[in-house]
């Protein structure tokens, strides 16, 4: 099957091309079948490949992506640049292929229901399929350039999908923000790539003849080792690559784009901004474990960045009122955990959390999408409440997701988070701090997730159902929210399609109803994985063993080895206590405030406004303002940067460069006009010019001859 790995890319690519060129003409049915089918088939291929990995030498295989290429006949082999165009199949790429196509497939199916009435249905699936293609290239390409192609490709898809409903200026702005902030990271990535090129003269990870980057590192580890210059260059490359990861995985200080990215349709948030693309940074670090273990300084920086992001993300998550924003900051925070794991050298723990997070966060986002769908586009939790009775199925899956992410036994999040905390406590220098902050963040995580549950499901409803529908029906034409629009539209004109659907009866009475089956079934499947994946592969270390061939061996590592602070079982206990603490706080605070669903009354908040520097007011402000990052960037880059750019534009560009280039253009045009005069159209003139040319040529040749012979 390994030799058929090209299907992983070509199937979704076919879907992309089909939907792009024929989608609109052939209608929604064909689009759904091709979009979901291509990704589903790719998932089957991924499963088959994974099952065969064990039989391969070193658990690894090369698979060409296009005809006529092979390691000896690469994609580009010109001017000293050799770039292959193939996939490297190993446990890491197989794992990511499973996540991307598996979770991706479920989200595609979910989108069939979610986007049902969007007029741009085909465009949506076109982008989604293209995203799968690019993400697969990113994780499975056999060299850094292909990873970069995928890296930029997913960035583009992310941009296109965030601003999918581009007629709203806010959405377009969010897309721009994501794209522009990622530029910074991408610059780091490309510089890192060039550094690696300058060290190793290649960008391929592994080759059969042992010339790949990781092969060279392994060979030198067996020999006399790498010299100091190379090591410091590798450290530089690691820092630069990590800058790329900071951008793509929304770490401090480039994390500001991810919350805004929630402007895209919810399936996009689930697939791109939770399960797959944002974890690309972690995948890249894991792929480069051979490099990072040689650069302990870079790793330490990774660990601190991850820790800070985990903590800051969680604190901001505490005060969000938009259900998707809670999940967005939670994603930022969980990504921080993953980087913490990588930073202490436990890459497999990081990837384990990537995997479990893909399940439970996709579940939570899709669940939130179902809630939003049922609430006709409402995302503000202050206007929700009481949904447990009205949406029992959605409630159930959200409950499982919350349980999983809170890190309470025995669901997935517990196992992966505990593994991270356990190995973080093993850092010889900062183990204590890493563990303490990590554990405290776990308390915060459990708290903000339960806060969300109470506000949405347990508290009393803060809306009137009939009003909600009346409002939607009455105003959908000028409604700014496309989800609401399309949904209302569905009830207005496509109600007949849903005849027989259980929920149809309910909403006909002006009541909130559950989402259709195409949305609920993916949720159930994800719920099963979110619940059981951790316990199935965590305690037995099966996941770690599976991933091992992709990682740098311990013998290569230059990291100082320490001992975890606690026995693993004590760790389990502490993690459980942390989760229960968070849940307990939430229970204590919100269960008694079911009426409003708010911790602080309006009076308290008014009081804070009057005394902004009292400690609680200050904390609240800090969290709400996202620790001032947006304001800071706005001031430095938008305001001051705007002034500088204006100077560059008006003085340097318009004044100097335009005149210079304009002058050159004028000169070129002028010369052209002069030469053109010679083009008289008369044969005699042409012949004369030829004769003149010939005479000069002969004279020149003879002159050269006399110069060279004397």
């Amino acid at each position: 099957m390994a030799e058929n790995a090209w299907l992983l890319i070509w199937l979704p690519l076919f879907g992309f091309l089909f939907n792009a060129f024929l989608g609109k003409r052939l209608g929604k049915g064909a689009v759904s079948v091709v979009a979901c089918g291509s990704v589903g088939l790719a998932f089957v291929v991924a499963v088959l490949i994974t099952l065969q990995l064990n039989g391969l030498p070193e658990h690894r295989a090369y698979a060409p992506l296009i005809p006529f290429t092979s390691p000896s006949h690469p994609w580009i082999d010109m001017a000293g640049l050799k770039i292959g165009f193939g996939l490297m199949l190993d446990p890491l790429s197989a794992l990511m292929a499973l996540i991307i196509t598996g979770v991706g497939f479920l989200i595609h199916v979910y989108s069939v229901g979610y986007m049902k009435d969007d007029p741009e249905y085909a465009r949506f699936f076109t982008y989604l399929n293209l995203f799968i293609v690019m993400m697969m290239l990113l994780v499975a390409g056999d060299n850094f350039l292909l990873m970069f192609v995928g890296w930029e490709g997913v960035g583009t898809c992310s941009y296109l999908l965030i601003s999918f409903w581009y007629t709203e200026v806010e959405n377009a702005k969010a897309g721009n923000k994501a794209f522009i902030v990622n530029r910074v990271g991408d610059l780091g990535f490309s510089l890192g790539m060039m550094t690696l090129w300058s060290i190793f003269g290649t960008l391929t990870y592994r080759t059969a003849d042992g010339k790949g980057i990781f092969d060279v590192i392994m060979a030198s580890a067996n020999g006399k080792g790498l010299d100091a210059t190379t090591l410091s260059l590798i450290t530089l490359a690691c820092f630069l690559l990590f800058v790329g990861a900071i951008g793509k995985s929304a770490q401090i200080p480039l994390w500001v784009w991810l919350p805004d990215a929630m402007a895209g349709p919810t399936p996009v948030s689930a697939l791109i901004h939770a399960a797959t693309m944002v974890t690309a940074g972690v995948v890249m670090l894991t792929r480069c474990s051979f490099l990072f273990v040689l650069a302990p300084d870079a790793l330490q920086f990774v660990a601190w960045t991850g820790l800070a992001t985990a903590f800051v993300g969680a604190t901001v998550g505490l005060v969000q009122t938009d259900i998707k924003k809670v999940l967005a900051f939670s994603t930022v925070s969980q990504l921080g955990y993953m980087f913490l794991a990588c930073g202490v050298g436990n890459f497999s723990a990081g990837m384990f959390h990537v995997t479990t997070h893909a399940f439970f966060k996709a579940l939570l986002f899709l669940g939130a999408g179902a809630v939003i769908h049922s609430m006709l586009g409402e995302q503000d939790m202050r206007k929700m409440g009481g949904l447990k009775k009205r949406l029992p199925k959605t409630y159930l899956v959200m409950f499982i997701g919350t349980w999983a992410i809170s890190g309470l036994l025995p669901l997935s999040g517990f196992w992966s988070k505990d593994e991270i905390l356990h190995s973080a406590s093993g850092d010889p220098q900062f183990g204590g701090i890493f563990y303490a902050v990590g554990l405290f963040t776990a308390v915060l995580t459990a708290f903000y997730m339960c806060r969300m549950m109470w506000k949405t499901f347990y508290s009393e409803p803060r809306f009137v159902e009939a009003d909600l529908y009346a409002h939607a029906h009455g105003n959908y034409l000028d409604s700014p929210d496309p989800v609401q629009h399309s949904h209302a539209d569905a009830h207005g004109t496509h109600a007949a399609d849903e005849t027989g659907h259980a929920a149809h009866e309910a909403h006909a009475d002006g009541k909130i109803h559950e989402s259709p089956a195409s949305m609920m079934v993916p949720l159930y499947i994800l719920a099963v994985f979110a619940a059981l994946f951790g316990i199935a592969f965590g305690p037995s270390h099966a996941f770690e063993k599976f991933l091992e061939p992709s990682l740098a061996p311990a013998s290569l590592s230059k990291l100082a080895v320490g001992h975890p602070l606690f026995n693993i079982y004590v760790g389990y206990g502490l993690s459980t206590v942390a989760a229960i603490l968070g849940i307990g706080f939430a229970y204590a605070i919100y269960n008694s405030r079911r009426k409003t669903g708010e911790w602080f009354s309006e009076e308290t908040k008014t009081k804070w406004e009057q005394r902004p520097y009292s400690p609680p007011a200050f904390l609240y402000d800090t969290f709400v303002s996202k620790w001032g990052f947006d304001a800071f960037y706005n001031f430095v880059f938008v305001k001051i940067g705007g002034v500088i750019a204006n100077v560059l534009w008006k003085v340097i560009d318009n004044g100097i460069i335009d005149n210079l280039t304009g002058g050159l253009g004028y000169l070129a045009g002028g010369l052209g006009k002069i030469f053109r005069r010679a083009q008289t159209g008369y044969v005699r003139n042409y012949a004369l010019v030829m004769l003149f040319g010939a005479v000069v040529l002969v004279a020149g040749m003879l002159a050269t001859w006399s110069k060279l012979t004397n």
Partner: protein, 501 residues
């Protein structure tokens, strides 16, 4: 037939097939004058002949070189590779002409025969190992082209262009022949007491003289360069190009721009490959010509309002880039093979894009109105988006933007030039390419960013099966080989068999 002739004839089989097909078409066409499908039949027979010749050329592409006809002709993978490109040109020229000629009331079977004859001439140019054979080959190519240029018999411009081409061509042939004579004199002692026109012998002779030239030889090379430079459209022997390209029927222009240039460069490569032992003597002249050609072509292209003229000047500029490749080939033995591969790759890409972009002009031509000026293209993206965006691909490729075949062609020539250590000329090439972007993008700008007005061509007027196939294949090839340049590796490898200095 003398049995000893068989291997000789077998060796030039592709050329022979093309010549025989040409005769069959010519005679068959006049015999079946009354039948209404005769023209289509002629076109089909032409295509079959081309396919057969292409098959034989392709099957031999990796074979070692063989010298036949007493040393007068050499068949190696370079000549086979060139032949493949030339055959593709002829096939496209046939496909482009089918409906176009009918619309212009020029549907004469001679067209196909003439295309075939001139193709056989240019194929022979690529395998000529003797200057006399080269001269004959050029004449076979040219005589057919003179007629083709004047093919629109009722169109004054076409007649004028044919006459100009013929007069100047005759003038250039004089230089060429005189150059050959001087070279014969300059190589006195190469073959017995006399001189020689055989390239193998010339090369050996020059090696024995320890790379020292004599004035007669120098003058001969200079005059040879005038003759070949005329065919290739090098500045200052280019003056005929715009007038002839503009006047000739568009399908003929496409064929001339690609086929004649490819043949000419194949010949330049062959001839100057033999002169490599004394390269210090003539390299500087070639470099000066290259710079003049690149800048002359590009600067003149900027001020054109007629697309056919613009493309004519652009073809001059591309001849300049190719000459940079020839300089690299001769300048340094290390760069020899790389440069040869680059030239072949470039020729292939240039052929695709040239046929494609002229194909678009044919696509847009109406009965009684040829699409030739910038005004015709105004706002094309709105009236015929397919044509506009395909043209966009070709313009980007001509400008050498990545992900098109033109980019890799330029990259390879540039690389070869740097490998040969000719930094100055490489920089001039880069600067010239930047200038060229202006007028290629001007076409794009006219198509995409201007509003259509009364002049704009509406819809695909002459769109036919042949035109669609040509434009489609060249566009696909242009992008495909721009993404997967390695697919053309066989062409690059084809250069490896040419005689090394």
């Amino acid at each position: 037939m003398n049995p000893n002739m068989t291997p000789n004839l077998m060796a030039v089989l592709p050329t022979l097939i093309i010549m025989v097909t040409g005769m069959v078409v010519l005679i068959g066409d006049s015999c079946l004058k009354g039948w209404k499908s005769t023209k289509s039949l002629s076109a089909i027979v032409t295509l079959i002949g081309i396919a057969a010749a292409g098959f034989f050329a392709l099957s031999r592409i990796t074979e070692d070189s063989i010298i036949v006809f007493g040393g007068a002709v050499v068949i190696d993978s370079f000549s086979n590779g060139t032949a493949l490109i030339l055959l593709a040109t002829a096939a496209f020229a046939t496909l482009l002409a089918m409906t176009y000629l009918e619309n212009k009331n020029l549907n004469l079977g001679e067209y196909y025969a003439l295309v075939l004859f001139s193709t056989s001439g240019s194929m022979l140019m690529a395998s000529a190992n003797d200057l006399i054979v080269l001269f004959i080959a050029i004449e076979i190519l040219s005589v057919a082209l003179y007629v083709l240029a004047g093919f629109a018999r009722t169109d004054e411009k076409s007649e004028e262009s044919a006459l100009k081409y013929f007069l100047l061509g005759a003038f250039a042939a004089g230089f060429l022949l005189y150059g050959i004579a001087l070279i014969y004199g300059g190589t006195a002692g190469a073959a017995g007491n006399g001189g020689t026109t055989n390239l193998t012998l010339i090369s050996e002779f020059l090696r024995h003289t320890n790379g020292v030239a004599n004035p007669m030889l120098m003058a001969g090379i200079a005059l040879l360069l005038v003759g070949l430079g005329f065919k290739a459209g090098l500045v200052p022997f280019h003056m005929w190009t715009p007038d002839v390209y503009e006047g000739a029927p568009t399908s003929v222009t496409a064929y001339m721009a690609a086929g004649a240039k490819i043949g000419a460069f194949a010949a330049i490569v062959r001839v100057f490959n033999a002169f490599i032992p004394i390269s210090p003597y003539w390299l500087i002249a070639l470099q000066v010509l290259a710079v003049l050609t690149m800048f002359g072509g590009n600067l003149l292209a900027i001020v054109q309002e007629n697309v056919k003229r613009m493309l004519a000047y652009s073809s001059i500029a591309h001849a300049g880039y190719l000459l940079v490749g020839v300089c690299a080939m001769a300048g340094n033995p290390r760069a020899h093979d790389t440069a040869l591969g680059a030239i072949l790759f470039y020729l292939f890409g240039y052929m695709l894009v040239t046929m494609g972009s002229f194909g678009i002009l044919i696509w847009l031509s109406k009965r009684g109105h040829d699409c030739t000026t910038m005004n015709d293209l105004k706002g094309l993206a709105k009236t015929d988006p397919t044509a506009a965006y395909t043209m966009l691909i070709f313009m980007l490729s001509l400008a050498g933007i990545p992900l098109t075949v033109g980019f890799f062609g330029k990259l390879q020539i540039f690389n070869a030039s740097l490998m040969a250590g000719q930094v100055g000329i490489a920089i001039s090439m880069a600067v010239a390419s930047i200038i060229s972007v202006y007028y290629y993008l001007k076409v794009v700008w006219t198509m995409c960013f201007q509003e259509p007005d009364g002049n704009t061509v509406e819809g695909r007027a002459t769109s036919s099966f042949g035109v669609n196939v040509t434009v489609g294949l060249s566009a696909i090839g242009c992008v495909l080989f721009g993404i997967l340049p390695q697919t053309l590796q066989f062409l690059i490898n084809a250069s490896n068999s040419i005689m090394r200095p």
